[in-house]
Point group: C2
Chain length 188, copies 2
């Protein structure tokens, strides 16, 4: 099972590819697609489509996962974000892949245990859960990995193996999935 998480933005789009095999999670690829602001919106949308298409060809995900949009009050930015999302969704449909979507709160809750977690906390937990050291930057990458992780954790949460050793700092509800081992073990 390979899951591609995408965090689309009008200038930076984060992505993360996670493989789950025999209950072990591993990051196959993660990074950002940066679009030049000087390019036309059509060129940027074409670039996003092409680069994600290449990523799908390379890693053959079974599912693509997005966050539903948190809408602020700016109509212009909603349109721009919508255009990038539309290109991503069209690609997913065009490649006949399954698309899952989660609300931002669901992603934060699945990854950190708290629906109101900050981006820093998501990044920290993504790094911990996936054994990434150093934790990748910028937040677009950890957000995208968190989105993919949410899908894997949600689908399998009843079979999740809670690690013996609790993560040392913090405590509270958002440490419940934490492990210090590089792989999070899930029973297939």
């Amino acid at each position: 099972m390979v899951v591609l998480g995408i965090d689309p933005g009008s200038l930076i789009t984060g992505y993360g590819v996670i493989r789950q095999e025999s209950g072990v999670l591993r990051v196959l690829a993660s990074g950002v697609i940066r679009m030049q602001a000087s390019r036309s919106h059509a060129e940027r949308i074409g670039q996003i489509y092409r680069e994600l298409d290449a990523l799908i060809t390379a890693f053959v995900p079974d599912r693509v996962v997005l966050e539903t949009v948190f809408l602020n009050k700016n109509v212009q930015s909603a349109l721009k974000l919508g255009q990038v999302r539309g290109a991503v969704i069209a690609l997913v449909m065009n490649r006949n892949l399954l698309l899952h979507e989660y609300a931002p709160r669901e992603v934060k809750s699945a990854v950190t245990g708290r629906g109101s977690a900050t981006k820093e906390q998501v990044a920290f937990m993504v790094g911990r859960l996936l054994g990434l050291n150093p934790v990748p930057e910028p937040f677009d990458v950890t957000d995208a990995l968190g989105i993919a992780l949410c899908d894997l954790l949600r689908g399998e949460s009843r079979d999740l193996v809670i690690p013996q050793r609790k993560f040392r700092s913090g405590g509270g509800s958002w440490s419940k999935f934490v492990t210090e081992s590089p792989d999070l073990v899930i029973r297939g």
Copy 2:
């Protein structure tokens, strides 16, 4: 020269394919893609992509033409429209086609002579200019044909052959391109 005009919407997307050959304009195809509101937005975006992809394969346009968006104050509808536009633009880029965009005022002005023309006036003039009887409905179709027509008229306006016989009704500036013949003649 074949031009595809598209008027994307979150539920109805109009399209019109116009061929210009030896200075004669002819409609090759026009209609709407209706999306079922009951389907998910991802399915709808997939449908738009597939159907327009098939249209491009069938008619091999040299250019695709869109209107720039007139933004109202609804953020949710801006996002939805953005998603459909993003799918359309991704398709155009993916097929390596040239994309032209015009402001709504430019389209109305090119087709009717008045930047503030109503949809009825655009439909009426599109019907006249392209010899369509009856004029196709709904307005999504005539808007899409108007967008394609704008591109052809704008590019060639200096060589436009003004017909001898003025259109009888209306008068004023928006009758200047009118002909009663089924084809609008443009010097190649």
